[in-house]
């Protein structure tokens, strides 16, 4: 068995796919196939599925165009992709906050079913969701990014640091600030606390 055959039998990690894509661009499709669903889901939770269609596609186009600068010591591309998506989401900050405030004010969430017919598929949000929306809307963009990358993206603190290109200490301080504000919005409750 040649080394090439052996290599093909073992599923390549993301860094290896990206390295191969330097010479064979089509290899990058493997990265797309692995992550498109979760990147789209993350964006959809923040901005709705229609915006997610566009932004998720852009995320992978930008990733592809920047693959030469990818740090191949990071075996998983997930934080990198979430970072690109987060930068794109930032351009829609006003929309995100508008949607959250709308949910808080009316009890009707424009997301995650923003495309449903007005009379169908919309369920009045529970009071807790309205309070959550208010708390999230009140956060700064940077604090919200960190909180949601952890809560919705399931990124570790280290991965958030990689995704946003910031020191891990900054991740901790932003998360601390986000939790503090969320607690304040919820009174005595802590919506960021882990269930026992």
């Amino acid at each position: 068995m040649t080394s090439t055959q052996a290599e093909e039998m073992v599923e390549a990690d993301d860094a290896e796919l990206i390295r191969r894509s330097h010479d064979v661009p089509e290899q990058f499709a493997g990265v797309f196939d692995r992550y498109i669903d979760q990147i789209h889901r993350y964006i959809s939770r923040r901005l709705g599925s229609q915006a997610a269609d566009d932004i998720a596609a852009q995320t992978f186009l930008i990733a592809f165009s920047q693959r030469e600068s990818y740090d191949l010591t990071h075996r998983l591309a997930r934080p990198w992709l979430y970072g690109i998506a987060t930068n794109l989401i930032a351009r829609h900050r006003r929309n995100e906050e508008r949607f959250l405030r709308a949910l808080c004010r009316t009890g009707v969430d424009p997301l995650p079913e923003p495309m449903a017919d007005e009379a169908v598929g919309r369920v009045a949000a529970q009071m807790e969701e309205r309070r959550l929306a208010k708390a999230l809307a009140a956060l700064s963009q940077r604090d919200r990014d960190v909180l949601l990358l952890v809560a919705w993206g399931d990124l570790t603190y280290e991965e958030v640091a990689v995704a946003l290109g910031i020191p891990i200490g900054t991740v901790r301080s932003r998360l601390h600030r986000a939790r503090k504000k969320a607690r304040a919005a919820f009174g005595d409750e802590d919506p960021t606390a882990e269930d026992a």
């Binding site: 089509e26 499709a29 498109i36 959809s44 709705g48 599925s49 566009d54 930008i62 006003r94 952890v150």
Partner: protein, 316 residues
């Protein structure tokens, strides 16, 4: 953290159509190695004149887009098909629709963000200038003020005119067939290199140009709105902004190099304007252009007014 984790925990899954469209865009980008070595794109005549105009008469003004309190609420649109249908119905029943008689001209007035520094394609998002154009009824001629009061005529159109499209039958499928036929015989030259690529992108750009300049009868305008969702890769954007700060819904096409938006009023679904920006870095042969980074705005317009006039140079 669990409360937040459960919040909006069940968003709609990505559709097969959206995944396929995104994958197709990516594969297209992979197959475009020439992207980094393309020849410099010549700005269109209109844009060059606009730049000349802005320098000659100093009509450039500082501009900051802000959201007014009286902006219409943007109703979420279910999908691009719904946006196409709503816009088409509005076009069909528009009481103010303009129909040109032979020999008449269509005067249009737009506000646009001017080029930042020719020959680079980047527009200056902080500046606005007014662009007035006169389009002949047959859609074949456009006249522009060169900034000194002198009109410059040139042939216009994306290879197909409003007259060509108005011949029966006027259906979305027929519009696409005619545009494809026109584009198939039209090589992608540097001057016509708006789309850089796929037929889908060229179709989108063609409708983009038709909407902003051609004297379209209501049936054709409606058919074009219905044709947009039939172009593979076209999606909807819920909140787009034109060059005057008006918010609307937009048809969007993301190509290998740039993303283009056709912005529609959320109130009456009339055409508001356009926006375009690059989505990947691109290096041009010309050192004067150099590298254009992803995220660079390349077009931003707002359609202000259109009226029938007797001859080019006349104003309503």
């Amino acid at each position: 953290m669990d409360k937040i984790r459960k919040f909006r925990d069940n968003p709609p899954l990505i559709t097969d159509e959206a995944r396929d469209a995104a994958r197709a865009q990516l594969l297209h980008a992979m197959r475009e190695p020439a992207l980094t070595v393309r020849r410099q794109r010549r700005p269109r005549l209109a844009w060059r004149l606009v730049l000349a105009t802005s320098l000659a008469v100093a009509t450039v003004v500082g501009f900051t887009v802000t959201r007014d309190a009286d902006q219409p609420v943007i109703v979420p649109i279910a999908n691009v098909g719904e946006l196409g249908e709503r816009a088409a119905r509005a076009a069909e029943t528009d009481p103010d629709a303009i129909v040109l008689s032979p020999g008449k001209w269509l005067y249009t007035k737009e506000t646009i963000a001017p080029l930042l520094k020719e020959p680079r394609p980047e527009v200056d998002m902080e500046q606005r200038i007014t662009l007035e154009r006169w389009n002949s009824a047959d859609g074949k001629q456009t006249a522009l003020d060169d900034g000194t009061g002198r009109l410059v005529h040139h042939e216009t159109g994306p290879g197909i005119t409003a007259t060509d499209l108005a011949e029966a039958p006027v259906t979305p499928e027929e519009m696409l067939t005619r545009m494809r036929a026109a584009l198939s015989g039209k090589p992608v030259t540097p001057a016509a290199d708006e789309s850089d690529g796929t037929m889908e992108e060229r179709l989108f750009q063609t409708i983009h140009q038709l909407m902003s300049g051609q004297p379209l009868v209501p049936e054709v305008r409606a058919a074009l709105f219905r044709a947009l969702p039939m172009i593979k890769g076209v999606s909807v954007k819920q909140d787009a902004v034109d060059a005057t700060g008006r918010h609307g819904n937009a048809f969007v096409y993301t190509g290998a190099w740039q993303r283009s938006e056709i912005i529609i009023s959320p109130e009456d679904y009339r055409f508001l304007g356009t926006y375009g920006e690059t989505v990947t870095d691109r290096t041009f042969f010309s050192e004067r252009v150099g590298t254009v980074k992803a995220g660079t705005p390349t077009v931003w317009t707002a359609y202000l007014e259109s009226q029938v006039v007797d001859r080019p140079g006349d104003r309503p």
